[in-house]
Amino acid sequence: MITVKTFAQVRELSGCGQLQVPFEAGLDVASLILRLQQQSPAWHDALEGTVLCAVNQTLCDSSALLNENDEVAFFPPVTGG
């Protein structure tokens, strides 16, 4: 399974802070996004526009390949400091 986490606007728009998604060989971030967006209009809106992605807590782009038990997080550009 892949653990998906969301933060800030992405968490609020999707209405879901964490969920499990079945892993399949060859899954990359882009296809995970597509799969989530097909789930509901809320997920579609949550992952539209500028959304950053971290795989196992490291920033990645959408071509990153996923492995079983990865943790994938989606969130907006950061605003700390």
Binding site: Q9, A54, T79
Partner: protein, 154 residues
């Protein structure tokens, strides 16, 4: 080197003492920066803010920046502290300390950590205003400041 991510307030003196005590060579300069919650935004007065973060990644990302600063500017030590949760206007929100043999490197290290923190550490501010809360939009000027450090590497 140390980082802290906590809801609790911090003492600048305690952090300064810890930074100095853990220097790996004698320091000739210490630069510290403290960020406070501003009481206004472009729309007018605000009533504090709330900080969300990504537990685990926040600490790791901060530590990476601190390590990069130490190696890039030959620092004797560096540290970064960020608060999370509900903060009131004028509260302390972020602290960065850099110790170096000479002041120039200490200033540069502190600048580097603050500029890159605003692009690479998963923290999000939500401001309270007129009884409603709104996510803070990232500033283009913050992006440019972080990019400037990246360009200097190349």
């Amino acid at each position: 080197m140390f980082v802290q991510v906590s809801e609790a307030d911090f003492s600048q003196q305690t952090l300064y003492d810890q930074l100095l005590a853990q220097c790996d060579k004698p320091a000739g300069a210490i630069v510290t920066f403290t960020g406070l919650v501003r009481d206004f935004n472009a729309q007018g007065p605000i009533d504090g803010l709330e900080l969300e973060h990504y537990p685990g990644m926040t600490e790791n990302a901060l530590l990476q920046l601190v390590e990069q600063a130490v190696s890039r500017f030959s620092l004797a030590n560096a540290a970064a502290v960020h608060r999370i949760g509900r903060l009131a206007n004028h509260d302390q929100i972020v602290w960065v300390g850099c110790a170096a043999t000479h002041r120039h490197h200490a200033f540069e290290g502190a600048c580097f950590i603050m500029d890159t923190l605003k692009q690479a550490v998963p923290l999000w501010k939500k401001e309270y205003q007129h009884g409603a809360a709104q996510w803070v939009e990232p500033k283009a000027s913050d992006d440019q400041a972080a990019m400037a450090w990246l360009k200097k590497i190349q």
